[in-house]
Symmetry: C2
Subunit: 131 residues, 2 copies
């Protein structure tokens, strides 16, 4: 199992609520000041941990800083992700992201156009879908 300590650049932060995630996930806000109009945060997933299905009215950008994970849009195959990958999630596209079975996964997230509203959350990514 890839060692998380090799992949952390930004602070790990606190364990996140299970309302949005399956498994253990940590979130550290990096930028919250309203003047920037650009929330930025670091998200760390333990192996098999993942977001629930969700969408962003203004879109989202993921900058992968360590580990191995997946990104999947509804109705499409999952894409493998690793350090250095950039994911551009268009507005209102239902998707999930999270760690692989064997590795931790760390990404910076940017919520773009936050004035268009908060993320909309749907159900969990089932074990069957994750497999």
């Amino acid at each position: 199992m890839e060692n998380l300590s090799n992949s952390v650049i930004f602070p790990k932060g606190d364990k996140a609520t299970s309302a949005y995630f399956t498994g253990n996930v940590w979130v550290q806000m990096l930028v919250t000041e309203e003047v920037f109009n650009c929330p930025v945060y670091n998200v760390t997933f333990e192996p098999k941990a993942r977001t629930k299905w969700h969408s962003h009215p203004g879109g989202q950008i993921l900058l992968v800083t360590g580990g191995k994970g997946y990104y999947q849009e509804e109705g499409k195959p999952a894409q493998s992700l690793q350090e250095g990958d950039v994911v551009k999630i268009p507005p209102n596209v239902k998707h999930w992201h999270g760690a692989s079975k064997e590795s931790w996964f760390v990404h910076v997230g940017i919520s773009t156009n936050p004035n268009l509203g908060n993320a909309e959350w749907h159900g969990p990514v089932t074990e069957e879908e994750y497999q």
Copy 2:
């Protein structure tokens, strides 16, 4: 001298124009799609390389991913930067950022509120100022 190869996560890209920088600097755009309203780019500075003095009408965020560098706002002391630091540059604040004398320096940059206009560029950071 810190080895650049230990600090790169995102692509290095092409050597940037000397209109904006002193020394050798490489820039790789990561996000340019207008829908996100959030240009994101990776910037790599060789030792002693730095931006010219500049300001952003909409502000800028720096996410330091490797090496050692500096950030200085006009009229204030320079701050040392290293992996994991986040710099929040308010709109219209004249500043520069770049590498230390002994180390390469790599950061992701985010231009916030790009609708407010492009960066305004001023003169170079002189050797005397840099020292």
